[in-house]
Amino acid sequence: MSGVVKKTKRLALSWDQDFKPNLGDLEFHLKKNTEKNRISNLDLFMLCLGIGFEAKQKRPTPPRKTDAVRLADIKEKTIAIWQAIAVSDTGNPEVLLDEDLVFDIIEQYAAAGLMILSVEMENRPDFAGWLSGKLYKQSEQVAKTK
């Protein structure tokens, strides 16, 4: 960011502690679908962020535990998506001048997304199928929009 941007002191993002225990189940379902050996923290965080943002739901900013995504390894493209969410959330581009504000916003959406997925996992017998269908439709919709 430019020299005018206020830098964060965080090393990593944090999970909502209320639903964090469900991350294991979520990882299991994702592995089951994709047969991937490992689902990364970033994969989980981005999925939760997407679900929360799509539902326009936020939770309070989780306490800083630095137990989610490590910021040092994040690609520029991912940062751009996060910043876009912050701008969209605030309607003010000046939010970009404070990194912590951006990270707070995406943590809030991700916390909400995790909560939603936790409920779905609990309620849907075919959670993996439901999630796959949801993501497929979303992809299809985006593609059609273009």
């Binding site: 994709t34 962020l49 701008v87 796959s132």
Partner: protein
């Protein structure tokens, strides 16, 4: 044995003489003559007659005869000796002739080989009979050539006789007397035969048979191993064939079900393969959905971003960036880039400061927005690509699913065909038959190779068996040869022993005879020893080799010659040219004394004869006195008055010419009693 007549024709200087002493008493003959009168020629004539030893060509055909002949005339050189062989009157006439032809050159042409004739008469009254069979052999049997040095010798060389060639001469004499040459030859021949046999044995026997046998055993073992392996494989092949035929029969009975079973097996594999592909495609599909779908969920944030970017563009937030620090430097410098002067607090300066304040934030946001919008564009492109991948994977999944369905349908059809049969069993049979076919192929190849090896190995074994048979046969032959070699060795040793023993006996007899005779002369205890290498040594009573005077040395030679004649029991006359040699008066006197005493026993009391060929300084009136009592026959060779230098004549008594000079003149004058 006595020489009674000697006729010499055309031999050297002796053109024509006839020595006839048959009517004369006595066994000691002095044939005298001055130098060059033919004494040595006379001895040379006898040597040629008896032994065939030719003189030098210039001394062979008589010059006198040659001078008297015409070109083309034939001339005969002839020597004839009539010899009384024993006391009963057996007489031998030995004649040797050689024909020559006078040519235009100075040298005559020899015509043919010398001819030897021997005629025998058993008694004085009998007639001569020609020995036609082998006259040379006859002569050799009475006058052995190897003893020539002891019958016809030169007195001049006598004193050195035992120092010069005597060893070889003595050895020859001993061998001749012992008559052992044939045993020596037998010993040598059989020793050579043994060596040759041993060589053959060495070739035939030894380690060869053993070595071949070891090789044969190894090769036979290998052959057996090959055969056993071949047998095992052949058995396997037979079992394989039987089982394969069984299976073929079973499968033929199932009318195509085997093919169906086989097809099913392939379809199973095909289905499994499609399912694997489907699984992989679905996994890739899900992975792409997770990534692309997640990002798609966030696409809702992008419109606001784009609005803000549009606004920023409109309000000129976006780069090229506004640089407040550069404007602040203009203010500090008090001069604008447009040339206006800037002072703190004036309007221009204030306006610039307001501009700086206004754009400080917006320019920062603009930069971020600019970077973000670029990345978001990339995200959107990635989303489109991701969607295409999802679609492709979806198509693949559908296609694979269709394939799987097709395969499953085909399987169902085949299963319908095979309804009522045990598919698994059929499959196992088909599989087994395939394996059996493959195994049979391998077995056929291997047995063919083994058959080839077997043939080659059999050939090797047969070759070795032949070699072994030959080697064994060789051993048998070697055994026979070993017997032969043993016999050869025994015969060789026996012949060698006989040879050594005979030589030893002859040496002993010679030693005894010599010692006896020499003791008579010397009246001392002298012992004669003939060593193993045929050296004749005279030892004194203390066993040491003794020094002999010149006369004693000559006497020793005479005695040895006479001892030989005694041992051999042959009576060939002793014919000595210049018997006193160059001895001085005392030595000559001593030798004459010794000889006269010795000859008294040896000649007068026996049927033996001695010829001494002397000139006037040897045969003096004083010498003559020592031999008077032996009643010697005196004859002489004198010059022919007509042909002084090329022809000698023979006379009896003392040469009248001698009586003209020195001691013989004194003797003739009665001054010597």
């Amino acid at each position: 044995m006595k020489i009674e007549k000697v006729s010499v024709r055309n031999f050297g200087i002796i053109a024509d003489i006839d020595l006839d002493i048959s009517a004369k008493e006595g066994s000691l003959v002095f044939l005298n003559g001055r130098n060059g009168r033919g004494k040595t020629t006379f001895q040379s004539a006898l040597r040629w007659c008896f032994y065939g030893d030719e003189p030098a060509p210039a001394k062979f055909l008589s010059s006198w005869a040659l001078n008297n002949a015409q070109i083309g005339d034939t001339l005969t050189t002839r020597v004839e000796a009539e010899i009384m062989m024993d006391t009963v009157g057996t007489t031998a006439v030995i004649e040797r002739t050689q024909l020559f032809q006078k040519t235009e050159t100075t040298s005559p042409k020899r015509m043919g080989q010398p001819q030897l004739t021997v005629k025998i008469r058993k008694s004085a009254a009998g007639s001569l009979t020609d020995i036609k069979a082998d006259p040379e052999m006859w002569v050799q049997s009475f006058f052995p050539k190897r003893l020539i040095n002891f019958f016809l010798f030169d007195g001049e060389m006598m004193k050195n006789f035992f120092d010069l060639k005597v060893k070889g001469a003595v050895e020859n004499a001993v061998r001749e007397i012992a008559g052992v040459d044939r045993f020596d030859n037998i010993a040598q021949n059989f020793a050579a035969a043994e060596t040759q046999l041993n060589r053959k044995i060495a070739k035939l026997t030894g380690a060869k048979a053993e070595k071949v046998n070891i090789q044969l055993e190894a090769q036979q073992k290998l052959l057996v191993e090959i055969f056993l392996e071949w047998k095992t494989l052949s058995d396997q092949l037979a079992v394989n064939k039987v089982r394969s035929e069984e299976i073929s029969t079973i499968l033929e009975g199932l009318e195509g079900q085997a093919d169906a079973a086989e097809r099913l097996k392939y379809l199973d594999a095909e289905e499994a393969d499609y399912k694997n592909k489907l699984t992989r495609a679905e996994e890739e599909f899900q992975s792409e959905i997770l990534t692309n779908g997640t990002n798609s969920l966030l696409v809702g944030a992008f419109p606001e971003l784009k609005n803000q970017v549009a606004r920023a563009k409109k309000e000129d937030w976006l780069p090229p960036p506004f640089e407040p620090a550069r404007i602040e430097r203009l203010i500090e410098d008090g001069k604008c880039i447009c040339g206006a002067h800037l002072s703190p607090g004036d309007d221009s300066t204030k306006a610039l400061q307001t501009l700086i304040e206004k754009h400080r934030v917006s320019s920062g946001v603009g930069k971020v927005l600019d970077q973000m919008s670029r990345q978001i564009d990339l995200v959107e492109i990635a989303l489109q690509q991701g969607w295409r991948i999802i679609q492709d994977k979806n198509v693949s999944i559908m296609q694979i699913s269709k394939d799987i369905a097709r395969v499953q349908k085909e399987k169902e059809r085949l299963l319908e065909v095979m309804k009522g049969s045990d598919v698994t069993e059929i499959r196992l049979l088909v599989e087994e038959k395939k394996n059996l076919d493959k195994e049979r192929e391998r077995l056929v190849t291997t047995t063919a190779i083994l058959l080839g090896q077997n043939e080659s190995q059999t050939f090797k074994v047969e070759t070795l068996q032949k070699e072994l048979a030959q080697a064994t046969e060789g051993n048998k032959e070697a055994e026979l040869l070993q017997h032969e070699a043993k016999w050869a060795r025994e015969i060789s040793e026996a012949a060698g022993n006989i040879h050594q023993s005979a030589i030893k006996q002859v040496r002993q007899r010679l030693q005894e005879s010599f010692t006896e005779k020499f003791s008579v002369i010397k009246k001392g205890k002298f012992i004669t020893e003939i060593s193993n290498d045929f050296e004749v040594k005279t030892l004194n009573e203390f066993g040491h080799e003794t020094e002999l005077s010149e006369g004693e040395k000559m006497m020793k030679a005479y005695i040895f010659a006479i001892a030989l004649r005694e041992v051999i029991n042959l009576g060939f006359p002793l014919v000595v040219d210049t018997p006193f040699g160059r001895l001085d008066s005392p030595n000559r006197a001593e030798l004459a004394k010794m000889l006269s005493k010795f000859l008294e026993d040896e000649v007068t009391n026996s049927n033996r004869q001695a010829f001494f060929l002397m000139q006037d300084t040897e045969y003096t009136p004083y010498t003559r006195k020592y031999f008077e009592k032996l009643n010697p026959i005196e004859a002489y060779l004198a010059k022919d008055e007509e042909f002084e230098n090329i022809k000698s004549d023979l006379g009896y008594g003392i040469d009248p010419d001698w009586l003209l000079y020195e001691s013989w003149k004194d003797w003739a004058d009665g001054k010597i009693g």
